[in-house]
């Protein structure tokens, strides 16, 4: 039995209108400035293993119109939490999801199965929200592209190498392709489909 009981539900935003707006602006800044780590000010208190940053993005952006796919570890309590606070339905497959939430970046779903959009509707592509262990400015991945003046370096711990391979393929599909938020603690890193990994140019 998996019934949602109000008493057991972890709280969402304290002030849904204002917190959603602030979280959205942080997400907007993160996507507009790829590689620049942004800090979320307003955090909900989701049930583990869903972290506060991933929950904040989901609460600010998801609703009845956005099917959500969840990695194995996030099914159960996380789905109940998101369903209650956002009304978002569970996607039948990862390919049918508008948002794909991944609890642990070391265990990625099949990134070739998600929706990349199509040539006339590239905006339909999914947004990934992936929890990682650590984000830090500095040597690691070198990024270029729109939103970046020159280049920017960022270190990401706790994400499978397959993610960076998928990101290189993603760039080749442009204007199709997924957009990504990497999150940990209060931090958000935006990686829109325009991001170029510097290694590609070498």
């Amino acid at each position: 039995m998996n019934q949602i009981t109000l008493q057991n539900l972890a709280p969402g935003f304290q002030d849904p209108q204002l917190d959603s707006q602030l979280v959205f602006r942080t997400a907007l800044q993160a996507l507009a400035r790829p590689g620049q780590i942004q800090t979320l000010d307003r955090l909900p208190e989701p049930p583990a293993p869903l972290g506060a940053a991933a929950a904040a993005l989901a609460l600010a952006l998801c609703d009845l119109e956005t099917p959500v796919a969840l990695s194995e570890d996030l099914r159960g309590a996380t789905f109940d939490y998101l369903a209650f606070h956002t009304g978002a339905p569970l996607a039948a497959t990862v390919g049918a999801a508008s948002f794909v939430l991944v609890g642990n970046g070391n265990h990625l779903p099949d990134l070739s199965a998600i929706d990349f959009g199509d040539a006339e509707d590239p905006e339909r592509a999914a947004t990934l929200i992936i929890q990682v262990e650590h984000l830090e400015a500095g040597p690691g991945q070198r990024l270029r592209g729109p939103g970046i003046s020159g280049h920017i370096d960022v270190r990401v711990d706790g994400i499978a190498d397959a993610f960076w391979d998928a990101l290189k393929l993603n760039r080749k599909r442009f204007p199709l392709g997924f957009d990504t938020f990497l999150v940990t603690g209060r931090s958000v890193l935006g990686l829109p489909r325009t991001v170029i990994l510097d290694a590609e140019e070498a």
Partner: protein, 284 residues
């Protein structure tokens, strides 16, 4: 916060969320017009709703809003929009470009350089750059999908054949990040170079046609041209009659019923700052 019994920034939460998702996709696909849902959006008429919808979706209580109409902060339209957001979102407003976090504009880009973290919101009447060449939406969507922009080059070349130069001086088409052709809204082509590699985020809202598009900061924006007919901006023989600026976009105004004319900055904030600096210098 007291916002006079309105929803914060007027729109309901579901509508704002839908617009916010649209804006994020627009930033991820620079220059591409993202369509948004058919939901009814009751907005005061006669303002051009596209820019207001974008501003309503992004604005928060800590923002400082500047609104310009043809470069001026004091037109009826600009004043109304500032009051609207002061009332429904409780935000502070300003006329100073450098103090604003959000600048909503109709038909100009401010003369003072924008800085990182600022957002410029354009009000867009017609979003599709190819529309006057191809009326069918199904066809223009295909052209964007295939990056087939030959008809626009033919059109500009016909301009040259007829006028000896590209005659388009407003809403001059650009290509964003070497991919999508984009309509910059009816700004003078004088402003086009400001879009290129701008540190601010640029968002474009078309209300009637329900499209949002974006140019992220530090993104290449190229005005279309030809090797033998390079892109050129407007220039004037005069300087501003009020502040002496020789580098700003000038409007010609009639100063008497005898038809006397003078040229003054279209950007009133820029002009006033320069006038203040001049009178300070004169006093010293």
């Amino acid at each position: 916060m007291n916002t006079g019994g309105y929803n914060f920034a007027y729109l309901d939460e579901q509508t704002k969320r839908m617009l916010r998702r649209t804006i994020l996709k627009a930033v991820a696909i620079p220059g591409y017009q993202v369509p948004f849902g058919d939901r009814e959006m009751p907005m005061p008429h006669g303002w051009g709703t596209g820019g207001i919808q974008v501003t309503a979706a992004i604005i928060g209580p800590d923002d400082v809003l500047k609104v310009i109409d043809q470069g001026a902060d004091d037109t009826t339209n600009a004043v109304s929009i500032r009051k609207f957001f002061a009332k429904t979102a409780g935000v502070a407003t300003t006329t100073r470009t450098e103090d604003a976090t959000i600048v909503q504009t109709r038909h100009r880009i401010p003369e003072k350089p924008l800085h990182e973290g600022q957002i410029l919101v354009y009000q867009v009447p017609i979003p599709e750059p190819l529309r006057w060449l191809e009326p069918r939406e199904t066809e223009t969507r295909k052209m964007h999908a295939l990056s087939e922009y030959g008809i626009m080059h033919v059109r500009l070349y016909e301009d040259i054949a007829t006028h000896g130069r590209i005659a388009t001086s407003y809403d001059y088409p650009v290509q964003v990040n070497d991919r999508y052709m984009m309509r910059p809204s009816p700004i003078p082509k004088f402003d086009n170079p400001k879009m290129d590699m701008n540190p601010a985020l640029q968002l474009f809202g078309a209300g009637r046609e329900k499209r949002i598009y974006a140019v992220p900061p530090y993104t290449k924006v190229k005005s279309l041209d030809f090797d033998d007919y390079p892109f050129e901006v407007q220039s004037w023989d005069q300087s501003c009659a009020l502040c002496g600026a020789g580098d700003s976009f000038l409007d010609e105004i009639i100063t008497s019923d005898r038809g006397d004319r003078m040229f003054v900055c279209s950007d009133s904030d820029y002009c006033q700052d320069r006038q203040a600096a001049r009178s300070k210098e004169a006093a010293e």
